[in-house]
Each structure stands twice: as structure tokens, then as C-alpha cells.
Symmetry: C2
Subunit: 196 residues, 2 copies
DNA sequence: CAGCGAGGTTAGCGGTCGTTAACCTGAGGG
DNA sequence: CCCTCAGGTTAACGACCGCTAACCTCGCTG
């Protein structure tokens, strides 16, 4: 785990704030002036760092998709041969992401259609690979599942895990660890019910 | 079941198309001219039927929330005393809604923040009542669940059931009945894993 | 210390969008 | 047979928004 200790660059600040604002009010609902104000500069100063508003969204969505897929591939390689353990590792990774990067998880399935064709195709390809990776693992654990059923089940579990933004704005949920564990149990339970 | 046989009114046509467009491209991403064109009139003609674009969204969101809550109350009253049967009925109702009104389910948890304060408060209150109704039923079936845990579980299952828009744009999913049954089993499995 | 590039600033252009104004039309009723 | 009014039309206004232009100001560096 390579933890970042150096200060975030301006680009990273902008991306983080843009993600938060896009998730809160939607891509078209946020003006460039607001994004600038959120990082202490104003309006057109953003164009020293990004080609345009679209470019920020594109970089966010490609980054998310790539990070999810890369993490899943790594977990697939690192985990032992037991399919159940691999599935647990995938679930754990997705939960970490959903809990730590709520705005990004929100954008991920909400603002995809605002991208240019090229970027959208790339993101969709990464997403598809991620899904297919899950589908293969799930079918190893539950061989009774047909491929379409497994794919539906995977999408549904993503919906379950990505519901974290709807869980209490701040607090009221019983701590990060307990929430992660609850989500994990529910995901396994949902898969088991689908494929048992 | 009072099935509609008469033709839809102009207002209803507009609402239906507006819901579809809002779900596809987001509230701010759709112009009034597009909504008008979708029902064969153009642009400002909409203002003979609605006070403004906001009013359309408000009517849609209030309608959804009200319909969900009303349906749930009815099922609660009609079902027998067995808590498990009540929960099954709630799940069935939510799945019917998610499968038959995909655009509305999408709007329901995506465009809430674009409402005026008064409308947003109303919608949130209806949503909260709906959630609390589920929480009570779930805790009857699984008494081991604390209230916060039950609430988290309910939100997560909503995420699972509301994932239907992500299941194959058209086709590729194994028929409506099979999909409904799969979702139902997964929802029950998720609750069981949370509260067993 | 001159020069320069990175990273800001403000002013303003061009296009889009929600909304209003003014006008038209055809069906129904006294 | 006119009057009304529901339900359209097009033109246009005002606000906003993404983006560019032009300019400024440091901190380096040769």
C-alpha cells in the first residue's frame, strides 16, 4: 500500500472538488466558476489545467473505471485458488471504493452519457471488462448460474454496494467497519440466493 | 386493479416523455424544446399545461414517491399477519415498479436536489415514510437487526432492486418474469444475510 | 538582472435556454 | 352566426454559461 504523503497537486484538488460538485448537482448543474471557487481560484483559471469542463469529467470517469479494473485484476492475481476467497476479495475492494470515494461512485453510473464518443467508448470498455471479470468469478463459485443470470446478479450487487451515498449524509450509520461488514454479508447473501 | 383504457391526456403524454428524457440526459441536459418535440408540439406550447420545467419534475417526483408509499400501505393492509409474507409483498411491489417504470425509478434518486425547497421536503417526507415502513417490516422478520442496521439494509436492497436500468438496454435479460424472480430471491437473500 | 514561463486575473463574446408576449385557429354553445 | 376559450404558433428577451483574449505577476535561471 503506497500511501500518499506529499501535498496534492492543483490538478488533483480540482478533480476532487469537481467530482464532489458533479455528484451533488449533476454535470450540467455546476458552472466552471463554482469549481474554480471551490479550489480558491476563479473561473477561467481552470483552463490552465484542463482543456475544458468535459475534460475534467472524462479524466474522472476514465480514472474511476481504470482504477476499479486494475484493482480487481490485482486481487484476482494475488488471491489464492479458492473461488470463494477471490469473490470475497472483489467485494471487499468494491466496498472500499464505494465507501472512500462516494462522489466518484455516484458519477460512475450517472454522468457517463455526457462524454464524447471516444471517451465514452473507453469507459464502457473498462466497465465491461470489470463486469465480465466478476461474472467469471461468480460463475466459478455458483456454477448453477447461467451467464445472463450471473451478469444480472453482478449488476444488482453493484447497485447494492453503490447505495452507500444514500446511507445517512454524515453519521447515523454504525461506523465504517460495521457498514463494510454488513454490505459484504448482504452481497454474499444476494449471490448465494441467486445461485444456490 | 383498475386498468386504464381511455387515451392518455396531453399532460400525461408530456410527463411520460419528460421522465424518459430526464432519465436519459439529466434534468439540466434536456431543453423544453426537446420535450415539446417528443409529444409533437414545440417548445413554449408546454406552458399551456405546466407552470414551467421545474413543475414537470416536481409532479413526476411527488407522483413516484406517493405511488410507492400508497402501494406499500395497501400491501401492508391486505397481506396476512405473517411478516415474511408482508415483506415478500413489499419486494414484489417495488420490483414491479422498477421494471415497469425504469425512467421514474432513475429520476427518483437522481434529480431530487433540483426541486424547490417545498417540493423537495414533501418528496423526502414521502420517501422517509416509505423507508420506515420497510424498516418496521424487516425488523419484524429479522428481530436481531438494530434499527440503523435495518435502515442501511433497506437502502442497500433498494439499490439492488433499482439497478434494473443497468440491466441490458433492451433484451439479453431472460424475460421479465425470470428477472423479477431473480431480483426477489436476491433481495430476500440479502436481508437474510444481514439479519440472520 | 533580464527574460520567461507557469499560473493567475478580469472583460467580454457567442450560443443556449427558460420563459413571456403576441398572435392564430378551430370546435362548441347561446 | 358570432363569441369564447383551450391549445397551439413564432419572435424575442434576458440571464447564464463555457470559453477565449488580453493582461498581470511572480519565482527561476542563464
Amino acid at each position: 500500500m503506497a500511501t500518499r504523503t506529499d501535498a496534492p497537486t492543483r490538478r488533483e484538488q480540482i478533480l476532487k472538488e469537481a467530482a464532489r460538485l458533479f455528484a451533488e448537482r449533476g454535470f450540467h448543474g455546476v458552472g466552471v466558476d463554482e469549481i474554480g471557487a471551490a479550489v480558491g481560484i476563479s473561473g477561467p483559471g481552470l483552463y490552465r489545467h484542463f482543456a475544458g469542463k468535459d475534460a475534467m469529467l472524462a479524466e474522472l470517469l476514465v480514472g474511476i473505471s481504470d482504477q476499479l479494473l486494475t484493482g480487481a485484476k490485482r486481487r484476482l492475481a494475488e488471491a489464492g485458488p479458492a473461488p470463494g476467497a477471490v469473490l470475497d476479495s472483489l467485494i471487499e475492494g468494491h466496498i472500499d471504493f464505494a465507501l472512500d470515494d462516494r462522489p466518484l461512485i455516484t458519477l460512475h453510473d450517472r454522468e457517463l452519457d455526457r462524454l464524447r464518443d471516444a471517451d465514452r467508448k473507453l469507459v464502457r470498455q473498462l466497465q465491461r471488462q470489470y463486469v465480465e471479470l466478476w461474472v467469471a468469478v461468480v460463475r466459478e463459485v455458483y456454477p448453477a448460474l447461467t451467464e445472463p443470470a450471473a451478469r444480472s446478479a453482478v449488476h444488482s450487487v453493484f447497485g447494492l454496494l453503490n447505495s452507500t451515498p444514500h446511507l445517512g449524509r454524515r453519521g447515523s450509520l454504525p461506523g465504517r467497519g460495521a457498514t463494510a461488514e454488513l454490505l459484504h454479508r448482504m452481497a454474499r447473501g444476494a449471490f448465494a440466493a441467486a445461485g444456490g
